[in-house]
Amino acid sequence: MYVAVKGGQQAIANAHKLSAEERRGNPDVPEIGVDQIDQQLSIAVDRVMTEGSLYDRQLAALAIKQARGDMIEAIFLVRASRTTLPRFGYSVPMETSDMAIRRRISATFKDIPGGQVLGPTFDYQHRLIDPALAEGGAPEPAETAPADVDAQSPKVLGLLGQEGLMEAAGDGDDDAEIGDLTRDPLDFPADRDLRLQNLVRGDEGFILSLGYSTQRGYARGHAFAGEIRMGEVAVSFVPEELGFEIEIGEVALTECEMVTQFKGSSKVPPQFTRGYGLAFGQCERKAMSMALVDRALRAGELGEDRVAPAQDEEFVMSHSDSVEATGFVEHLKLPHYVDFQAELELVRRMRAEAEGKQAGTGEAAE
């Protein structure tokens, strides 16, 4: 007698247990702590916060631990957690020009007011695996300069703007309502606010490759890194009952402003145009890629021909989200017996028909 496959319930429970065991690994090895992930895998935490759309280091670190280091899985965990959080209000727009700078570079000018600050970067490191690191130990302390409390670090693109060579940032309409991808479903054509939100949440690898494609001729324009800055920015909020602004904390941000030459159009004189990137923490690759893709997606607004994938907002925005993408790709693991049965029946029927026809022609030829 045939008994249909059963036991999904038990199988799931066992798989969960096995997965937890695998996550822990060999119990003789000390368990990794959330604090250790937060402090020692900080760039992983930054990425999970950025693409997870939630600034919470401990939660992101826990998600990384739970996901066994699978970044997309960790981002997914943070997003699902975010779903359950009610919204209390909106912060005042953050002022990145008031950033407490830890890193700031410009590739367009040798020196800039406020100076170039290399900060904690992999740039210029020889990527040689360091056997000594396997042993651990305290790193050599870095030199520090006395803090210059009066130091001003104006935006580099603002300096270009004084000459009239740089387009203004944004459309200048501060009162315009800002869209929210997480509250309103995406709708095309999408304005820049929504495009930027989509790119921030987008998968770093996907955005990186798209940005890269714009450098290889799939969308015209050579971009310059006008300014990249990383550091802490204050977040302020106006509680309804107080009616005035209070500072509720600070977040670490990486901001990238790309500069691209623009030949001008019937409406706009020749000038430099902007591409903008922003991410939580130290996500420089993401911020730079985002800025490139942002600029490419502005093709319509600037009257450029849309010829490349990175300029196609429906293509980019509909496929950038790693949580959406991984879910749908991985859903192919789910059973499809019913549809497959329907296809099986169809293919059998078509084969039988085809064979019938062939047999028919064969006889006729004889």
């Binding site: 059963k6 999904g8 779903t83 749908f328 329907a342 296809e343 078509m350």
Partner: protein
């Protein structure tokens, strides 16, 4: 905000109330405009996109504590994803669950409509992967939206007609497009076309949720649902020469199970509840291991 659901730390049925209200407003519009895909701000659920998050968000937004929930995948209550979703709502909404179609007030489904006719006091919630019936003919949302606005469904008819020209019949076997109440062409979700006739004039409310694609749509009860076809090539459903090997049914959708590597096969009802109920009534199929004494 304190959460008051059965699962500590989470709201009743997982979603917060703002989210449920947003989905409920979309559901009412969907019912008022049968077959039209209402955009909604789909949320990340604790299950991956493509695994039923749209259906789950709809279910979470309609569920009451005294509901009885049935969840099926491929017609079966015991497939792993159905088990997982059923457990999720048992945990977060503390609703009663069942595998019996007749006992359920809400049925969430992937890829099938139960064989047993649904009643007025039941709601069927479909999980939908790609809600846009025109998507594989036209990948751009801006274009397909225009086509729906103008009732411009020629492309779909051309596709079906090309099938006929090439194969002598329509080669779409599941997710077979339907026209709802004489207006919108709608994707029935990847149910086999065998199930399409059950959507027509159905006593139950049918709700469709596509989480990743962020669309909700609906068919109100007693609404005309027609499978697209041509006068000379009328719509027809799948049929089998075999009967269910377990319960002997000849009128249900059959799954094919490979028994061995010598070509041994079993055809059995994809709707496990339907099959079990028949067997409980004494019906037997050829491979049930018992004499086939039909109860009729």
């Amino acid at each position: 905000m304190t959460a008051t659901g059965p699962l500590p730390g989470y709201n009743f049925a997982y979603l917060n109330e703002q989210t449920k209200r947003m989905i409920r407003r979309a559901l009412l519009k969907a019912v008022a405009i049968p077959g039209y895909q209402v955009p909604f701000a789909s949320r990340e659920m604790p299950m991956p996109y493509g695994w039923g998050t749209g259906g789950m968000q709809v279910t979470a937004s309609i569920l009451m504590p005294d509901d009885t929930l049935k969840v099926i995948d491929q017609g079966a209550d015991d497939t792993t994803n159905a088990v997982s979703i059923r457990n999720f709502f048992a945990k977060t909404a503390a609703v009663e669950t069942t595998t019996a179609t007749a006992q359920a007030s809400v049925i969430q489904t992937r890829h099938r409509i139960p064989e047993e006719p649904l009643r007025e006091d039941q709601i069927l919630v479909y999980q939908v992967p790609i809600p846009e019936p025109l998507r594989f003919l036209e990948p751009r949302e801006t274009e397909t939206r225009k086509m729906h606005a103008l009732s411009e469904y020629g492309l779909m008819h051309v596709k079906l007609y090309e099938d006929i020209a090439r194969y002598g019949h329509i080669a779409t076997t599941y997710a077979y497009p339907v026209e709802v109440d004489g207006r919108y062409v709608m994707d029935p979700s990847p149910t086999p076309k065998f199930d399409n006739p059950k959507m027509d004039d159905c006593a139950a409310l049918q709700l469709f949720g596509a989480g990743r694609e962020k669309r909700i749509y609906a068919i109100p009860p007693y609404t005309k649902v027609i499978s697209l076809d041509f006068d000379d090539y009328p719509f027809e459903v799948q049929t089998w020469e075999e009967a269910c090997g377990l319960c002997g049914a000849r009128d249900s959708y059959l799954d094919e199970v490979i028994l061995d590597d010598r070509g041994g096969r079993l055809f059995c009802c994809s709707d496990t509840d339907f099959c079990e109920k028949r067997r409980a009534m004494g019906y037997r199929g050829a491979m049930s291991g018992e004499p086939q004494e039909a109860a009729e």
